[in-house]
């Protein structure tokens, strides 16, 4: 394999591995913040048990996110030396800021995880704030660096050296749409994964308050954010159409520049005919969506020379995967919202009855959100090809010329596979239900209350 192919596969692998765990470093602190707060205000041991459990999961996932993130920082130099040599300074400010955010996250994570006996309960809860804020900020800085590669702003050159106005990135619209999209995605992945774990537990018969609270928090997070994510995604797509028309055309599998462009749902892009095979075209859909006019002209891939077109077949498929899964989550959100509203009107308790269908829906949101998030990264990265810095540097020129990296790739695959497998086993063990000493607290509070009320009424 050439250095370029190895570098690309290795980067894709390391990034995917990292991001699968990093999202929990961003999302879980916010959920733990809520759960521990509930424990502090109510003294309810079920909330305490959830907090302790999530803290353990957070500890493991944060450590894996941290070490796999270290791998990435080295890989910039190991795999993409020319890119770093030319543009390292331009994205340096963001990475410096990210390092500090990560510093803060690691410091307060240590205080949180090991401070149960050394900090007062209130101080222990307060320590979560810097963790949550710093985790969010690290996403912001890192995704902004990626946004800069998609839409490099402020580039100049003096004396043969590439310069970049370092603060320009903060005023680029691409930064803010991409960052918001990813932050909401990270929270949705966390919420979905939490919902899925407890939904599966309940489907297996563990229908106690511990599981119900866990499920409800997860479901609330992922479902409330679903409509917001659709809006943010719409903004992001508009920004892509303005700044990277080639990527948008690849997302939609749209080749011939024209007006009255349909929006095709599904379908596979045929590289030879430049047409989508199968799929459901909505007449004038894309023109309407982007410009609110049925006849609006949308530039297609034919505007780009053949060697500057992304792999449209992959990008379109990834885009449809993301939007498709997102839409299903949105439907679940609408259904859940309706059930909640109906339950509230009837005075039901709980508001949303935990039927098996609902639990299956909860179990679906976790994997769906994760796959949608990974597909989204394929869209933004694959859609930028063949550029590493859009319209400034080609991926092929940025990659290492080293030829001996096949072994490194093999080693990475083996180590990451082993670690992921071990992690799954460990998480499965952690997800083995409420701690045994909690059984007395687990009686269904609402049902007991209902029985008492019924008795009082008779």
């Amino acid at each position: 394999m050439s250095g370029l192919v190895v570098a690309r596969v290795e980067t894709a692998l390391s990034l995917s591995f990292h991001i699968l765990f990093a999202v929990f470093g961003v999302g879980l602190p916010w959920l733990v913040l809520y759960a521990e707060r509930r424990w502090l205000t109510t003294g309810d041991r079920v909330w305490y048990a959830l907090t302790r459990k999530w803290a353990r999961v957070m500890a493991v996932l944060f450590a894996i996110g941290a070490v796999s993130g270290t791998v990435l920082s080295f890989e910039f130099g190991l795999l993409w030396p020319t890119f770093m040599a030319t543009y390292g300074g331009a994205i340096g400010l963001l990475f410096t800021l990210e390092a500090f955010a990560f510093f803060a996250e690691a410091i307060f994570m240590g205080l949180y995880l090991y401070g149960w006996k050394r900090l007062s309960p209130r101080a222990h809860w307060l320590v979560l704030w810097p963790i949550a804020v710093a985790g969010t900020l690290s996403t912001l800085f890192i995704v902004m660096a990626n946004a800069w590669m998609n839409h490099p702003v402020g580039i100049g050159s003096t004396g043969g050296k590439v310069t970049a106005r370092p603060w320009a990135i903060f005023t680029s619209s691409t930064s803010w749409t991409e960052v918001t999209h990813m932050l909401v995605a990270a929270l949705m992945c966390t919420g979905g994964a939490v919902a899925a774990v407890y939904a599966v537990g309940m489907l297996r018969g563990r229908r106690d308050r511990y599981h119900r609270n866990g499920l409800n928090i997860g479901m609330a997070t992922v479902l409330v954010l679903a409509p917001i994510q659709f809006l943010v995604g719409d903004f992001a797509a508009r920004d892509v159409s303005a700044t990277q028309p080639g990527k948008l055309a690849a997302m939609e599998g749209h080749y011939t520049t024209s007006g009255h462009v349909p929006l095709t749902i599904g379908g596979f892009y045929d590289n030879r005919t430049h047409h989508l095979v199968g799929g459901l075209p909505i007449p004038d859909g894309l023109s309407l969506l982007l410009n609110f006019k049925p006849g609006a002209v949308v530039p297609g891939l034919d505007q780009l020379p053949a060697d500057q077109q992304p792999m449209t077949a992959v990008v379109h498929l990834a885009f449809d995967t993301m939007v498709g899964l997102g839409s299903v989550i949105l439907l679940i959100a609408a259904w859940g919202g309706w059930r909640w509203w109906r339950g509230r009107r009837r005075g039901d308790s709980p508001r949303v009855r935990l039927t098996r269908t609902w639990l299956w829906a909860g179990a679906f949101t976790g994997p769906a959100a994760m796959i949608a998030m990974l597909a989204g990264w394929e869209v933004t990265e694959g859609g930028r090809q063949p550029w590493i810095v859009y319209q400034h540097m080609l991926v092929a020129d940025a990659a290492t010329k080293s030829t001996g990296l096949g072994w490194a790739l093999l080693a990475t695959i083996l180590i990451y596979l082993g670690l992921a497998l071990a992690l799954i086993l460990i998480l499965r063990k952690l997800a083995s239900g409420a701690p045994p000493d909690l059984q007395s607290d687990l009686d269904d509070g609402t049902e007991a209350q209902n029985t008492m009320e019924a008795q009082a009424a008779s």
């Binding site: 493991v60 944060f62 450590a63 894996i64 941290a66 070490v67 796999s68 270290t70 791998v71 920082s73 080295f74 910039f76 130099g77 190991l78 993409w80 030396p81 020319t82 770093m84 040599a85 030319t86 390292g88 300074g89 340096g92 400010l93 990475f95 410096t96 390092a99 500090f100 990560f102 510093f103 803060a104 690691a106 410091i107 307060f108 994570m109 240590g110 205080l111 995880l113 401070g115 149960w116 050394r118 003096t158 590439v162 310069t163 970049a164 370092p166 080293s402 001996g404 990296l405 490194a408 080693a411 180590i415 670690l419 497998l421 071990a422 992690l423 460990i426 499965r428 063990k429 952690l430």
Partner: protein, 337 residues
């Protein structure tokens, strides 16, 4: 030029912080590895391992970030050199990364896994082995930069060809073991249930001090042979730091013998600072000897300025937080998470 020097100073200070803090964490792994080698029951190998794990737990991730910070500073501040440094050191850095990943993963898998994936002892061995591999590879990498044989087209195995670089790797392992044993003496003295380990770690610390001193003596002639340009600057500039290091290293023995464990932390740290600082002073102004000086490879001035501004604000938040962390966990107790 002054902004570049300021950035270099920050990088060297961060590297020192990494060596003194994360170095001791790696050294803890070394002692975890050799804990079972002695047959004597009274040395309580499992007790040693528990104390090591408890000392690492709250701080190792924050300590580790210093390395990420150094890497980020080098690639943002000196982007041209970073690519060449990384590719010419791809083999030792690759191994160091394997060590970093396995060390961190094995540590949390052992602490939180409850034997779900592999028995805890296995993760313990992986953690310990990786803790030795990583400082060795980082030591080789740092020393190889001084030799002047690396370049954009040097062979991947080039860093391992110099006896100086290999010995420097061994020195890195010895120094981390020395730091860890010294720090653990004080930690063990904090609680009655670990007090019997003080004697064990005191002995280890003194042994490691002697070993590290011996490695330094073996290293010096190789240094002058394999890295002549840097060695010449070492003679000009770094003798005071070398003397400091020698005095503090020997002083550590005395202080440990007198059972002054807090003072021993300072002398031990100063001994390591002397070695690393001496190398850094001699390396200046080269980043990669014979290929890149700092000034040649620096990023555009406005990028460096922006980074320095960001660092002032960042350090204002991070340093007090770090102090808080170290203070709260100054006496780690076993079984607290």
């Amino acid at each position: 030029m002054t902004a570049i020097n300021a950035l270099l100073a920050i990088i060297v200070l961060s590297l020192l912080a990494y060596a003194l803090l994360a170095g001791a964490d790696f050294g803890g792994g070394f002692w975890d590895l050799v804990a079972g080698w002695s047959r004597r029951r009274d040395r309580d190998p499992e007790g040693q391992r528990k104390l090591i794990a408890a000392s690492l737990g709250p701080v190792w991730e924050a300590n580790h970030v210093w390395l990420i910070f150094v890497i980020v500073c080098v690639f943002s501040g000196f982007p041209t050199a970073f690519g060449t440094i990384a590719t010419s050191l791809e083999l030792p850095l690759g191994f160091a990364l394997v060590g970093i990943v396995l060390r961190g993963a094995a540590y949390v898998y052992r602490a939180y896994g409850g034997g779900a994936a592999l028995p805890d002892q296995w993760w313990g061995r992986i953690f310990a082995g990786a803790s030795v591999l990583t400082p060795f590879m980082l030591g080789v990498s740092g020393a190889a930069l001084a030799t002047g044989t690396l370049g954009p087209h040097s062979a991947p195995t080039e860093p391992f060809r110099s006896a100086f670089a290999l010995t420097a790797g061994v020195l890195a392992v010895a120094a981390t073991a020395f730091l860890a044993a010294v720090y653990l003496c004080h930690n063990a003295a904090q609680y009655p249930e670990t007090a019997h380990l003080v004697r064990v770690f005191r002995q280890k610390a003194m042994g490691a001090a002697v070993a590290a001193g011996a490695v330094v003596l073996a290293l010096l002639p190789l240094f002058y042979r394999d890295a002549p340009a840097v060695a010449a600057r070492f003679t000009d500039r770094s003798i005071p730091l070398a003397v400091l290091s020698a005095l503090c290293g020997a002083g550590s023995l005395l202080v440990l013998w007198r059972e002054r464990y807090i003072l021993a932390r300072f002398t031990a740290a100063a001994a390591v600072v002397g070695v690393l600082g001496g190398w850094a002073a001699a390396q200046y102004p080269d980043l990669m000897t014979g290929v890149y000086t700092a000034a040649q490879s620096a990023a555009a001035p406005q990028s460096v300025d922006a980074m320095l501004i960001a660092m002032c604000f960042g350090m204002a938040v991070v340093l007090p937080s770090f102090y808080l962390l170290l203070r709260i966990f100054s006496s780690p107790a076993v079984d607290e998470h």
